[in-house]
Amino acid sequence: MSGFTPDLELNQNEIVKQVERRYERIVGISFTISLLASIALGVVFWQGGQTQAEGALLFVVLGGLGFGIVAWGKYLVPQGPYVQEREELRSPADEKQAFVESLERGESLLLRRSFLVKLLGGAVGAFGIITLFPFIRSLGPQPKKMLYVTNWKKGSHLVRPDGSKVHVSELEVGGVLTVFPEGHAGGAISQTILIRPAFQDIVTKPGRETWGPQGYLAYSKVCTHAGCPVGLYQELTQQLLCPCHQSLFDVLSGANPVFGPAPRPLPQLPLAVDSKGYLIAQSGYNEPIGPGFWERA
C-alpha cells in the first residue's frame, strides 16, 4: 500500500507488526462496513424494499466482503512465488501399450459375435429413431400451406384492431391505419397497413388498376426481409420503413423495396368499397406474405 512510511527508528519486529496491523485494519474495516450494510439492507427489506437502495447496499455488502477477502489473501498470506513441476501429460509408452491391449482383448471378445453386435446396434438405433418420431411430430404441425395463406378472403371487411369496420370516409388523406380481415383482428399474419395517399384511385402497378379505390392502398404489414411489422409510414416521401433493419418501400410504386435488405415488394391487398361504403378486400393476397422460405419459388 502506497503512502505508508513507517517509523524507521523502530526495530524490524516492530515494523512487521505495524505493517501487518495496518493490513489487518483494512480488512477489518472492510468486513465491518459489509456487516453494517447488511443490517441496513435488512432494514430496507423490512421497510418494503427500494430497488436503488437494495442495489447500492448489496454493492457495499458484497464489495466489503470481496475487498476484505482479497486484501487478506493478497497482503496477509505468503504470495510466493512458488514453483511446481508439471507432470508429463502423455502416458508412458508401456502404459499406452497396456491400455491398447486391454481394449483389444475386450473388442476381440465382442467382435467374435459380430452378427450380434450389428443386431444390437440395429435394435438400439431403431428404438432411438422410433422414440424420436412422436417427439418431433408432436412439437408442431407440418407447414403444408400454412405459409401461403392468410385470413384475407374475397369480400373480407377491413377492421381496426378493436374490430370496427373501416368506412371509406374515415381516413384522412395522409392517414395510416393497421387493419385486419373481419373476425381476425390483431392477427400476426394477416396484419395489413392501410394508407390513403390521395383522393383519386391509385394504380401502383399494371394489373392493379382497381386495387386502390379512392386513394386507399393496402399492403401486407409483414416485412419481406425478416418479418417485422412495417409500421413506419413517411407521409411526405410516401415511403414505408421497416423499423428492424431499415428496409424502405415505395408506397406509390407497389411497395417496391428501394433501400435496405428487403428483397421483395410488400404484397398488395386489392381493395374495393362495398355498397355501404365500407372497405373490403377484392381477394386475399395473390402471393405468400412475409419473409422467404425454401419451398417458395
Binding site: 524507521l8 526495530n11 524490524q12 519486529n13 515494523i15 505493517v19 501487518e20 495496518r22 427489506f45 436503488q52 437502495a53 442495489g55 447500492a56 448489496l58 454493492f59 458484497l62 464489495g63 466482503l65 470481496g66 477477502i69 487478506w72 489473501g73 493478497k74 497482503y75 498470506v77 505468503p78 510466493g80 512465488p81 512458488y82 511446481q84 513441476e85 508439471r86 501429460l89 418431433i136 412439437l139 408442431g140 404441425p141 407447414p143 400454412m146 405459409l147 390483431g186 392477427g187 400476426a188 399474419i189 426481409h225 425478416a226 418479418g227 411489422p229 413506419l232 428492424c244 431499415q246 433501400f259 435488405p261 428483397p263 421483395r264 419473409p291 422467404g292 422460405f293 419451398e295 419459388a297
Partner: protein, 557 residues
C-alpha cells in the same frame, strides 16, 4: 486441529493425497488470467438470480387482464409471462434488483467470455495440449449467446417479441428444413401459443445443464493440465510459477467472486436495464422503432442490416436473404472459431506442447488476423445501431448504412495493416512495453563518461518485491512429500518462518533494511541478489528452475 473429520472422509474416499495436491496447487499469477473467472462468477450469479426469478415468473402465453400496481398498463390484455414479469418487478421484494442483476450479469458474462477468449487467442493458449478446452470454451460461448437471447425473449414484451419474430424468419430461411423447423419449434404459424414455455424450459433447464457440465469439464481439464503462464523469471515449459491455491489463491479468487457480485449488484440497482413496463406487452402488429437485441447479438443484427437484398431463387426453391447473414455467417464464424487451433497448425506445423504463452507482439500473423477479425465483428456490431447513430450524429440513415457496407470490409484491412506494423516493430525491440529505466551518465574523476541503467524507482521495486517476492521456491509440504517419496530425510525447520511470512513481513524487512543498508534486528538470510525474504531456501531446492530456458526471448527484469 481436529483431525477426526479428515480421518473420517479419508477412510472412506482416500482423499488426502488428492486434496493435499489441490491445496498446494500453484496458479500462475497474472491479471489477464482473471477474465475467465469473471465469466464463471457471472455464471454463478446468473444461476442464483435465475432461481429466484423462476419462483415468480409464469412462462405462459395465456392472456390475462392486468390490474397490478403499474397503472399505465392497467386494463391491458397481456400474456401471463409479461404480467408476471411486471409483478416480479413491482410487487416482489428485491424482485426488480434481482431481475436487473440477472440481465446485467448476462451482459457481463458474455463480455467476459469474449475477452477471456481474446486473451486465450492472442497469447496462443489454445495450442497443444489445450485444444479440447478451446473447443469446449467456444461451445460455451455459443450456448451463452443462445441462452442470453432466450432469456431476453421470455418477458414477452414488445421489443423482445419483435426479436422472436425475426428469429422465426431466420429459422424459416434455412434451406430444406426451414419451414418444418419453424413450424415444429413454434407449434405452427408464428406466434402460436407455445414458444415462451418452450424457450423457458430450454432457458432454465437444457442449456444451463449443458453449460454447467461443459464448464465443469473446462475447469477439470484446466486443473489437470495446469494453467499456462507467461514467460518470465524462473518459468519454463515444464513448471508452474505462481501463488499457492491455499490460502492465497483461494482468498483472492473467493474475494473476486464477491467483487463480481458487488459490481453486478451495483449495476442491477442503479442502472435500469430492459424496462419492459415501458415497452408494453408484445402484440404482433405493434412495433417500436430502435429495437435492438442485446449487445452479443448485435453483430448478427448488424449483418442483417448490411447484407444486400439478395434472394436466390431457382428450380422451384428459394434461399431467402436472411439466410446468408443470419445462418451462414454465424455458422462460418463459429466453425472457424472452433477449428482455429487446427487451422493455425496447418500453417505453423507446430506439434509441440506449449505451456508458456506467446506475447501477442511476438506472433505477428496471429495478432494481425485476430485484430482484423475483431474489427470485422465490431463494425457489424456498430452497424446494429445505424438508426441510433444516424439520429445521434444527425446524418442520413442511408449514408450511414452505405458507410458501414464499405467499412465492414475496409476497416478490418486498415486495422490489420496497423496491427501488423506495430507487432512487427514491437517484436523487434527488446524490452518493449516494459517500464523504462533511466540512464544515468556518470563522470569519473578522470573525466571519463559512462552510462549506467538506473536501478528503477526504488519504491516501485520494493512494492513489487513485497507482493511478488523473489526467486520461486517449492511449497514446504510439497517439498517434504517429494522427499518422502524419494526416501530422503525430511526437515521441518522452515515451517515456522513460512507460517508467518506475508507480504507485510517482506515489505517491513525491506523498509527496515533500507536506511542502514545492512542488518536489521531480525535480519534473515536471503538468496544472493534477490529479495527472497523469509522464503530463502534452507534445504535443497530440487525445483530450482533454469532461467536461461525461460528467459530466452523475454528477457529478465
Amino acid at each position: 486441529m481436529n483431525l477426526e473429520p479428515i480421518e473420517w472422509v479419508d477412510d472412506r474416499l482416500g482423499t488426502a493425497k488428492f486434496t493435499r495436491k489441490s491445496l498446494n496447487k500453484i496458479f500462475p499469477d497474472h491479471w489477464s488470467f482473471m477474465l475467465g473467472e469473471i465469466a464463471m462468477y457471472s455464471f454463478f450469479i446468473l444461476l442464483g438470480t435465475g432461481v429466484f426469478l423462476t419462483l415468480f415468473f409464469n412462462p405462459s402465453m395465456a392472456t390475462t387482464v392486468y390490474h397490478g400496481s403499474y397503472t399505465p398498463l392497467d386494463g391491458h390484455t397481456m400474456s401471463q409471462a409479461y404480467a408476471s414479469t411486471l409483478n416480479l418487478s413491482f410487487n416482489v421484494r428485491a424482485g426488480l434488483v434481482m431481475r436487473q442483476m440477472h440481465h446485467w450479469a448476462a451482459n457481463v458474462f458474455i463480455a467476459a467470455i469474449v475477452v477471456h477468449l481474446l486473451r486465450v487467442f492472442f497469447t496462443g493458449a489454445f495450442r497443444k495440449p489445450r485444444e479440447i478446452n478451446w473447443v469446449i470454451g467456444s461451445i460455451l460461448l455459443i450456448l451463452a449467446i443462445v441462452e442470453g437471447f432466450l432469456g431476453y425473449s421470455l418477458p414477452d414484451d414488445l421489443v423482445s417479441g419483435t426479436g422472436i419474430r425475426i428469429a422465426y424468419s431466420i429459422i424459416l430461411s434455412v434451406p430444406i428444413i426451414g419451414s418444418y423447423a419453424a413450424s415444429f419449434l413454434f407449434g405452427g404459424q408464428f406466434p402460436g401459443h407455445v414458444i415462451i414455455p418452450r424457450f423457458y424450459s430450454i432457458h432454465i433447464l437444457l442449456i444451463p445443464a449443458l453449460m454447467a457440465g461443459l464448464l465443469g469439464a473446462h475447469l477439470a481439464i484446466m486443473w489437470h493440465q495446469k494453467h499456462t503462464q507467461f514467460k518470465g523469471k524462473g518459468r519454463t515449459e515444464k513448471n508452474v510459477v505462481g501463488v499457492a491455491m491455499w490460502p492465497a489463491y483461494a482468498l483472492q479468487a473467493g474475494g473476486f467472486f464477491f467483487l463480481t457480485a458487488a459490481v453486478i449488484a451495483a449495476l442491477g440497482g442503479l442502472f435500469q436495464i430492459n424496462p419492459i413496463w415501458l415497452y408494453g406487452p408484445y402484440i404482433p402488429y405493434k412495433v417500436s422503432y430502435a429495437v435492438q437485441p442485446d449487445w452479443y447479438m448485435g453483430w448478427l443484427d448488424g449483418a442483417l442490416r448490411l447484407f444486400p437484398s439478395w434472394e436466390i431463387t431457382g428450380f422451384g426453391h428459394m434461399i431467402p436473404a436472411v439466410f446468408f447473414p443470419a445462418v451462414l455467417l454465424p455458422g462460418v464464424t463459429f466453425g472457424l472459431l472452433i477449428l482455429w487451433p487446427w487451422i493455425e497448425r496447418k500453417f505453423t506445423k507446430d506439434y509441440e506442447y506449449h505451456n508458456l504463452l506467446d506475447n501477442p507482439r511476438d506472433n505477428t500473423w496471429r495478432t494481425t488476423i485476430g485484430v482484423a477479425v475483431i474489427t470485422f465483428y465490431m463494425v457489424l456490431f456498430f452497424a446494429s445501431s445505424t438508426d441510433v447513430l444516424a439520429n445521434f450524429f444527425n446524418v442520413s440513415l442511408n449514408l450511414v448504412l452505405w458507410s458501414f457496407r464499405v467499412a465492414v470490409f475496409v476497416v478490418p484491412v486498415i486495422t490489420a495493416v496497423i496491427a501488423h506494423k506495430i507487432t512487427k516493430e514491437a517484436s523487434a525491440v527488446p524490452g518493449a512495453g516494459r517500464p523504462r529505466k533511466a540512464m544515468v551518465i556518470m563522470r569519473s574523476d578522470e573525466g571519463e563518461y559512462t552510462t549506467v541503467e538506473s536501478p528503477g524507482r526504488p519504491e516501485l521495486e520494493l512494492k513489487h518485491q513485497a507482493i511478488h517476492g523473489g526467486e520461486p521456491m517449492e511449497l514446504p509440504e510439497e517439498e517434504r512429500a517429494h522427499k518422502r517419496e524419494l526416501g530422503e530425510p525430511v526437515s521441518v525447520d522452515n515451517e515456522a518462518a513460512f507460517a508467518t511470512a506475508s507480504p507485510a513481513v517482506v515489505l517491513a524487512e525491506e523498509i527496515g533494511e533500507r536506511p542502514s543498508g545492512g542488518t536489521g534486528v531480525f535480519r534473515i538470510p536471503r538468496a544472493a541478489g534477490s529479495g527472497g525474504g523469509l522464503f530463502s531456501p534452507r534445504g535443497s531446492r530440487p525445483n530450482r528452475v533454469d532461467n536461461d530456458e525461460a528467459n530466452g526471448k523475454d528477457g529478465d527484469r
